[in-house]
């Protein structure tokens, strides 16, 4: 694998993770638990879609085969997507959406902080912009996690259930493959072991503050680094990609 191939795959992984997470979040628009929160969650979806767009545009440049960012988003099949499986998990109730988002915001916060130091200037630039946004997202989702954890019995139980369900997908976030190793040597990729340690500390503190229990000895799911997903992704793509695939010659 060349450095360019590795960089393409790495950037796709980041672009896909953001794209699919934003796709899930945007399902809430117009259906949020109250108006202010509807606006806030849509805002987060908007930031993340923006990051996905920048990343896929960069992936398109790296690949340099005439496939645009839109081609990458709309004309790949599920087996060619590399988003983390946690991002494709259904929204469930608001507790599950917030739990999934808090897990991802915390990951992104430490991940982008490291990526901002990358020798790849484009990735570093995207990361610097994202940190500002993610800092706000993390504050928002953490404050909801706290309200839910220490709110009513119902909100506590819903949130604990969500954390228990989602935890099995967190291991994947830190898996390093040949792609990471190649780019790590070049000073481009992030050392996920470093991010993992920070993420674990942060989550342990956050969950304790929320009176939630961190699941232990969880068997971690895996696959997305190889384009293997849960059953949900193909449905997401069927919906998202329908129109461009129905009219492949059209420009929108």
């Amino acid at each position: 694998m060349t450095t360019q191939e590795a960089l393409f795959n790495y950037t796709l992984r980041l672009g896909d993770t953001n794209l699919i997470l934003a796709q899930r979040l945007s399902e809430w628009t117009g259906h949020g638990p109250f108006l202010e929160e509807d606006l806030a969650l849509t805002n987060i979806a908007l930031d993340i879609t923006g990051a996905a767009k920048s990343l896929l545009e960069y992936a398109s440049t790296i690949e340099n085969k005439g496939r645009s960012a839109d081609d990458l988003a709309y004309f790949r099949n599920d087996r060619q997507f590399f988003n983390a499986q946690i991002t494709e998990q259904p929204n469930g109730d608001y507790a599950k959406t917030i739990a999934r988002q808090a897990i991802m915001d915390c990951f992104d916060y430490y991940f982008f902080t490291e990526l901002a130091k990358s020798k790849d200037e484009t990735l570093a630039g995207i990361a610097q912009k994202s940190i500002k946004e993610v800092t706000y997202h993390l504050r928002h989702t953490s404050s909801w996690l706290e309200r839910f954890g220490d709110g009513t019995e119902e909100s506590h139980n819903k949130t604990q259930t969500a954390i228990n369900q989602l935890w099995q997908y967190t291991g994947e976030l830190f898996e390093m493959t040949e792609v990471d190793e190649i780019l790590l040597k070049e000073g481009i990729a992030v050392d996920l072991n470093l991010v993992k340690a920070k993420w674990e500390n942060h989550m342990a503190d956050l969950l304790a503050k929320c009176t939630l229990i961190q699941p232990e000895n969880v068997f971690m799911q895996t696959g997305s680094r190889k384009g293997i997903h849960t059953e949900h992704l193909a449905f997401i793509l069927a919906e998202m990609q329908a129109l461009p695939r129905m009219y492949p010659d059209a420009k929108w």
Binding site: T42, K53, M240, Y247, A250
Partner: protein, 313 residues
């Protein structure tokens, strides 16, 4: 002061084109009219998020997705300013929402029509937001201060939305044959419902007279409808599309187009709850609100606990 003196002050403000502010005395029916109109407007923004939100997950390009998300978010923001403006008249958000959820309050009937294709997202931005702007531009100078100020910002954003809608229509109309057919189909379905947005003909408009007197409204339904047709027909021609009205014809004498009236019987049916999506829209709003109940309760319980801890310290 005697009641008549209060009335004189109020009438004097209207006569001098001054704003009426929340703490000023105002006649009860003025207050009621405003609550009805502003809340109806707020509900329209919120319900309007549904037909447009319907296409966010299916937007055909990354740029289109970002633009649509931002647009639907703007509509929610408009709802928020307007609910806040209505609250200055002494009604609570809960009460306003309850009126929407029980079907007691109305919202713009246009949102009871479905968005069936991507071209509908273009048509809604271009035609529906275009018509809304015609109604709303004059509201920037309406007599009630908080409403007028909210409308200034709303109008700016709406004209942006209209351009975005027209941009979608342009891509489609100058795109492939399939895309152009999709654009024409959307125009065919949205033309008459959009014309209905200006309300019934002047002769049959029950709320217009007071609204004009109070400067809540400054042009009549028919005047606005005519203005809309005059403005929109050249845009349709630019796109190479056809207005679905065989009677559409330039009338030199009135310097405007003659056009067919929309089907007012259909309008009445849609307003009475029998439009294609009335039940779905209301059910979606109710579901969001009901599903969100535990979220709001948790936030309140948490705030109460924190307050107790703070007060004990």
């Amino acid at each position: 002061m005697e009641l008549t003196q209060f009335e004189d002050v109020f009438e004097g403000k209207l006569a001098k084109n001054e704003m009426v502010e929340p703490k000023d005395w105002m006649p009860d029916n003025y207050r009621k009219h405003l609550i009805r109109q502003i809340s109806q407007h707020a509900h329209s923004e919120i319900v309007g998020m549904l037909p447009e939100g319907n296409w966010i997950t299916r937007a055909p390009s990354l740029r289109a997705k970002v633009v649509l998300l931002a647009k639907v978010q703007d509509e929610g923001g408009h709802g928020l300013y307007l609910y806040t403006a209505a609250e200055t008249l002494g009604i609570s958000r809960d009460e306003l929402l309850d009126n929407l959820h029980t079907g007691k309050a109305k919202y713009s009937s246009i949102f009871n029509y479905p968005t069936l294709t991507w071209a509908d997202i273009g048509a809604v931005g271009w035609l529906v937001d275009g018509a809304a702007i015609m109604n709303q531009v004059m509201l920037q100078r309406t007599s009630y201060g908080p409403y007028a100020r909210a409308m200034v910002r709303i109008c700016k954003e709406e004209s942006f939305h209209q351009r975005q809608g027209f941009e979608i229509m342009t891509h489609l109309s100058f795109g492939t044959a399939d895309q152009k057919a999709m654009a024409q189909d959307a125009l065919n379905r949205w033309w008459y419902p959009t014309m209905m947005m200006f309300g019934p003909p002047d002769a049959e408009s029950p709320n217009s007279e007071n609204a004009m007197k109070w400067r809540i409204k400054r042009e009549t339904n028919d005047q606005l409808r005519q203005k809309f047709v005059n403005q929109t027909v050249p845009q349709v021609e630019y796109l190479g599309l056809t207005v679905p009205d065989a009677n559409l014809k330039w009338n030199e004498a009135k310097k405007g187009y003659d056009y067919s009236e929309p089907n007012w019987a259909e309008f009445k049916q849609v307003i009475s709850g029998n439009g294609p999506c009335n039940k779905e829209r209301l059910a979606a709003r109710n579901k969001a609100h009901d599903d969100g109940a535990w979220v709001r309760e948790a936030a309140q319980a948490f705030a109460k606990k924190r307050k107790e801890v703070y007060e004990a310290a």
